[in-house]
């Protein structure tokens, strides 16, 4: 009799333990899922876009000497954890900037082929997805970039260039300032990075574009760029 009661109590104890364990495990899983709910960092608007005047004299201007054309092949942005290949991209039939399509290059950066190559005069444009159908993409953490951060670009001529961020902006796509982003100061080598920002939970669309403005501050390794006569 006593043994029977004891085994019943033991069985009940086991059930309680199992139930408690299930509840605790469940809570841990939920907590883990919530803590790892990762959103792209929101861009912090800072810095000045136009650095022309301050670069006109001094060491910065000498270091930022214009160099010839050579396509970018790789970009590294330590502040955003980016280290990726760079492919060339053009315009969509509707005149907008094309973006990397599903395939092997979806989550790599893309250089706009009608813009200068990094190191030439004017703003070179490199874009990347913040996220894709596959989840986080190459510029997921671009929002973490701040003025003063460094960007390195490798080019097809073997040169390595270092750009320094001077400004971060967040523009509504509806009023995207085309001539500010693709034009502006043409006298010095610039590099501008573009990705998506400002996700709207209601419309389920990114309604903004983050633009990182940087300028050439150092030629880490000179290239062997030959002058090319084909204009590209």
């Amino acid at each position: 009799m006593a043994g029977h009661v004891g085994s019943r109590r033991g069985r009940r104890g086991g059930l309680i333990t199992a139930a408690l364990a299930a509840v605790v495990t469940g809570i841990v899983l939920i907590a883990f899922a919530i803590l790892h709910q990762e959103s792209a960092p929101a861009p912090q608007v800072a810095g000045r876009i136009d650095t022309g005047r301050t670069l006109d004299s001094g060491a910065a201007a000498r270091a930022a000497k214009v160099i010839g054309a050579a396509r970018p092949t790789r970009i590294r942005i330590p502040a955003a954890g980016v280290d990726t290949a760079v492919n060339a991209i053009g315009l969509n039939p509707d005149g907008s900037l094309a973006v990397p399509q599903p395939g092997p290059h979806l989550n790599e950066a893309a250089w706009f082929r009608n813009s200068p190559t990094p190191g030439q005069q004017g703003p070179a444009i490199i874009e990347g997805h913040v996220d894709s159908v596959e989840g986080e993409s190459v510029f997921f953490r671009l929002g973490a970039v701040r003025p003063g951060n460094r960007i390195r670009v490798w080019r097809a001529d073997g040169s390595i260039l270092e750009f320094t961020v001077n400004a971060v902006r967040d523009y509504p796509k509806a009023t995207f300032p085309t001539s500010v982003v693709y034009g502006g100061d043409l006298s010095a080598p610039q590099l501008r990075l573009i990705t998506c920002s400002d996700f709207n939970e209601t419309t389920h669309h990114h309604e903004g574009n983050e633009v990182v403005f940087s300028h050439l501050t150092r030629v880490v390794r000179p290239g062997t760029h030959a002058v090319r006569d084909d204009g590209r």
Binding site: I16, A21, L29, S96, Q121, G128, L186, V227
Partner: protein
């Protein structure tokens, strides 16, 4: 007022905002080009044009070209060329084999002069070789608002307009080419008028950039959340059941 007119006036008034809107969207568009070297020149540059009707706000910036000519600042005539194939010439355009693509040899690719990008005064094709009003230096950052011809405006819009900067460093030319006269102005050497930088104007990208799908903006780890919830539910129910049975036994 005529009866038909009385109907038409409010209709016209209603249509006005529509007309204004469409003209606002079509009003100004921006174009850009990267200026790359021709004829072994060492320069690089960029040009942008903001076009409203026939009014062109032009910005041309380049560096690395020959800085002096006979001891004086080197004049670099620069133009918007139109009426050609809308391309920059390749070395195959050098028909006489002197190693230099002359302005004439480059003609089929980029066409004739449409607008002269002079620093002041005449901007017509007639000023095309007027070195007195051309930028004179190894580098320039040029901005000018010019009323271009309808032909030039149309060429900019359809992608066949080409920005060309002329003037080569004579020492980079072959001996033969160094002794040649300009194909345009017989009193000048070939180097002075031959193209040094070239770029085809294309429209800047319009609107924002579609670099996101929002896949990481919603709920992630949905499976984990569901599993966690199920475990809490099952465990909770089991505990509730055990408690009820114990209560029954207690009574």
């Amino acid at each position: 007022m005529h009866k038909a007119l009385r109907v038409l006036v409010p209709l016209a008034a209603a249509a006005t905002p529509l007309a204004l809107m469409s003209s606002a969207t079509a009003a100004g568009t921006s174009y850009q080009t990267t200026l790359n070297p021709l004829n072994h020149a060492s320069g690089t540059g960029m040009a942008t044009i903001s076009l409203q009707g026939n009014t062109a706000n032009i910005h041309v910036s380049w560096s690395g070209l020959a800085a002096t000519f006979n001891g004086s600042p080197y004049p670099h005539v620069q133009h918007i060329h139109v009426g050609g194939q809308g391309q920059c010439p390749t070395t195959s355009a050098d028909k006489n084999g002197d190693g230099v693509i002359s302005t004439t040899e480059g003609g089929p690719a980029y066409g004739g002069i449409g607008t002269t990008l002079s620093e002041h005064g005449d901007t017509s094709p007639a000023a095309g070789t007027n070195i007195k009003i051309a930028p004179s230096s190894g580098s320039t950052d040029y901005q000018r608002t010019i009323n271009v011809s309808s032909k030039v405006a149309a060429a900019i819009r359809d992608g066949s307009a080409v920005v060309v900067v002329h003037g080569l460093d004579p020492s980079t030319l072959s001996k033969k080419a160094q002794n040649e006269k300009s194909d345009l102005v017989k009193s000048l050497p070939l180097a002075a008028t031959s193209p040094a930088l070239c770029g085809v104007l294309t429209a800047m990208p319009t609107g924002g950039v579609a670099t996101g799908t929002g896949s990481t903006a919603g709920v992630e780890n949905q499976g984990l959340l569901e599993a966690g919830g199920a475990l809490v539910l099952v465990g909770g129910l089991a505990l509730y059941g055990v408690r009820r049975r114990r209560t029954t036994i207690g009574v």
